[in-house]
């Protein structure tokens, strides 16, 4: 390492170092892709499409990805976000179907998600299972719980008009002219941003993510902080579950699993903007927007669902190759 570094010093310095540029490569790529779609895709850069993009594609994924950002920031990973989403959605819909008020449903749903987080925390802290395996186990158990409570995975649809008031109030209402789901997302972003980047807790999370052992020896209460981390992630996923089921007015088992890989992808794409390759709220949001814009843009230029998958894979591959490859060249 040191030999390399001294060798680098003898090179003539560029006005903007390659390393700095590599940190902005993701943002540059995002801007280029955005402009490209604005030019080639009809109806991409319209207010209607942008609102649709944000409220349908971004909101749900962003909230889950925020949770994932906290967990990955603390050096863990949470494969059970799908379970948190689904269980929260399931309890919420079941309570509404049983005639309870919307608020009770929301509390019930969040409580279910909270249980998933606590289960993860117990497995990781008390039984010392590594987060990947612990949350994988919870994922399997969660799938069973859903099968058992829905006779093998039968969706629950609440399309009758008596329920619509509750769902309208959550998914279709406005707050100061902004749709409620977007308000919820902005609140979540603010809270997670303050917690991760402007608080003592955030420093602890960063320490855990950088060197868990060192963090322990410096007197950070590792189990306590990890519990908060995993519960927070589960709660954020729970919020997504409630927004999701209010939007589609139903509970479809295992629908939360679709968010897992996108949330992990968005968070790690986001690490490309920091020099130390650490997850951050801003980075994750860029990752979420990047994925959403790619999907929406490819759809609008007429690619079918199958080719969209390939397209997104190739685009993400190229963008990351650019960012990480430049970083490597600069070292």
């Amino acid at each position: 390492m040191s030999i390399k570094a001294s060798a680098q010093n003898t090179k003539p310095r560029m006005p903007v170092s390659l390393e700095t540029f590599s940190n902005y490569a993701i943002i540059a790529a995002f801007v280029i892709i955005f402009i490209a779609f604005s030019i080639i895709a009809d109806g991409f850069l319209t207010g209607e499409n942008m609102l649709n993009l944000v409220s349908n594609k971004v909101v749900l994924l962003a909230i889950v990805a925020l949770g994932m950002t906290i967990v990955i920031g603390a050096g863990g990973i949470d494969l059970s976000v799908g379970v948190s989403i689904d269980l929260s959605s399931m309890v919420f819909i079941m309570l509404i179907a049983a005639g309870y008020a919307g608020a009770i449903g929301i509390i019930g749903g969040l409580a279910a998600a909270c249980c998933v987080g606590i289960a993860n925390a117990i497995l990781i802290n008390k039984l010392k299972i590594n987060p990947f395996l612990a949350t994988l186990g919870v994922l399997f158990i969660g799938q069973s719980i859903q099968r058992l409570s829905t006779q093998g995975g039968v969706p629950i649809y609440l399309t009758r008009s008596e329920f619509s008031a509750t769902f309208e109030a959550i998914a279709r209402s406005n707050f100061l002219g902004v749709p409620t789901p977007i308000v919820v997302m902005i609140l979540c972003i603010l809270v997670v941003y303050l917690a991760l980047h402007r608080s003592v807790f955030g420093r602890y999370v960063a320490a855990l993510g950088a060197q868990a052992e060192v963090a322990r020896y410096s007197g950070i209460r590792v189990p306590f902080n990890l519990s908060i981390v995993f519960t927070a992630c589960a709660m954020l996923s729970g919020i997504t579950g409630i927004l999701l089921s209010s939007t589609v007015r139903s509970y479809v088992p295992f629908s939360g699993d679709a968010f897992l890989l996108d949330a992990i992808g968005a968070t790690f794409i986001g690490t490309a903007i920091s020099a130390e390759r650490r997850p951050s709220v801003i980075g994750t949001l860029i990752g979420v927007f990047l994925l959403a814009v790619m999907r929406n843009g490819l759809l609008l230029i007429g690619w079918n669902f199958f080719w969209q998958q390939v397209g997104i894979g190739v685009l993400v591959f190229c963008v990351l190759g650019l960012s990480f490859g430049l970083k490597k060249r600069s070292e």
Partner: protein
């Protein structure tokens, strides 16, 4: 282990029993596995019949092959799933290879052309992973995720998300043939495991691969071309995905969408396999045991007549139990 007991033996009997306790915890995974097998043997009718045991081994072949691929990647890059290597594209790759093979068969190409093309597809996806992880230095979790999207998307475009039926003499032999009373699929599992055990644990390639996975800088300092080994691990995983795709097609007589869903079971098998090794590292033998463990669990539940709704949950709980027991052993 032997060193420990030699040290403790002369000192005191109390220490001796402590070492024994340690040993038993350390063997916890094996005890749990054996206990569950014994339980099924006593309670589930027909569990111990040779036919049933053979069925489980056959069913385990597909999961086992894919988990072997993941094990090789883990061996070459470390099991830290966040920073170390991981191959998320494994299952999607097998799906893509199956689609390639099925489409080529439908278009009337012979096995002589279709099989090499299928295996090359698998290795090409592996190469793409290698480019992402080694050359471009993308975090493996992310690089292979992008490749997974590409592979899954290509599979969908090839098959248009439909079942493509395949029936050839070769797939018939793999699915129904047998030799010396052991079916072809079981033979495949036995031969490939033996080959991989030899390659990974008794050959210098395996030793060096473990060195690369254990400590990248140290391996490089020792003169190993680390990049080439990691490339090799991903390409080998891709090749295994290609081979598995032909087994999948033989068992299902078609290329069927949804192979990508095997990703989590593959990861579970490969990671669970680490608890069967003495130093808790990924090994071929451990992965084989873990795959059989998962297979026997599902089979036992079926024979006991437990509702299939429970299977995933109890599997998850047992995996957690085994891992928890061994993580206690690790700390001791």
């Amino acid at each position: 282990m032997s060193v420990q007991s030699e040290i403790s033996a002369p000192s005191a009997r109390r220490l001796d029993s402590k070492a024994l306790a340690k040993l038993s915890i350390r063997l916890g995974a094996f005890v749990a596995f054996g206990g569950i097998l014994l339980y099924f043997a006593l309670t589930a009718r027909g569990f111990t019949s040779p036919y049933n045991l053979m069925t489980v081994v056959e069913q385990s072949a597909i999961l086992g092959f894919l988990a072997f691929g993941m094990t090789i990647v883990f061996a070459g890059t470390g099991t830290d799933v966040q920073r170390g290597g991981i191959d998320l594209s494994m299952a999607a790759n097998a799906g893509l290879c199956a689609a390639v093979y099925a489409i080529m068969m439908r278009e009337g190409y012979g096995n002589a052309l279709a099989i090499p093309v299928t295996l090359c597809t698998g290795m090409a996806i592996g190469l793409l992973n290698g480019i992402a992880v080694v050359t471009l230095q993308i975090i493996p979790l992310l690089g292979t995720l992008a490749v997974m999207n590409i592979a899954a998307g290509l599979e969908l475009t090839l098959t248009e998300n439909t079942v493509v039926p395949v029936k050839t003499p070769l797939t018939k032999v793999i699915a129904f043939g047998s030799f010396m009373g052991i079916s072809t699929l079981a033979w495949c599992l036995i031969v490939v495991s033996a080959l991989l055990v030899w390659l990974m644990h008794f050959h210098r390639i395996g030793l060096r691969l473990y060195a690369v996975g254990g400590h990248l800088e140290a391996a490089r300092a020792a003169g190993i071309n680390t990049g080439r080994y990691i490339y090799g691990a991903y390409i080998a995983a891709g090749l295994l995905a290609g081979i598995t795709s032909i087994l999948i097609i033989s068992r299902l007589s078609s290329s069927t969408p949804g192979t990508g869903l095997m990703l989590l079971p593959i990861l579970a098998a490969a990671l669970l396999g680490t608890v069967f090794s003495r130093r808790f590292i990924p090994t071929i033998g451990g992965t084989l045991l873990a795959t059989l463990f998962i297979g026997f669990l599902a089979n036992g539940f079926q024979l006991l007549g437990i509702s299939s709704y429970w299977v995933a949950g109890v599997q998850g709980a047992l995996i957690l139990l085994v891992v928890a027991v061994t993580s206690f052993a690790k700390r001791n």
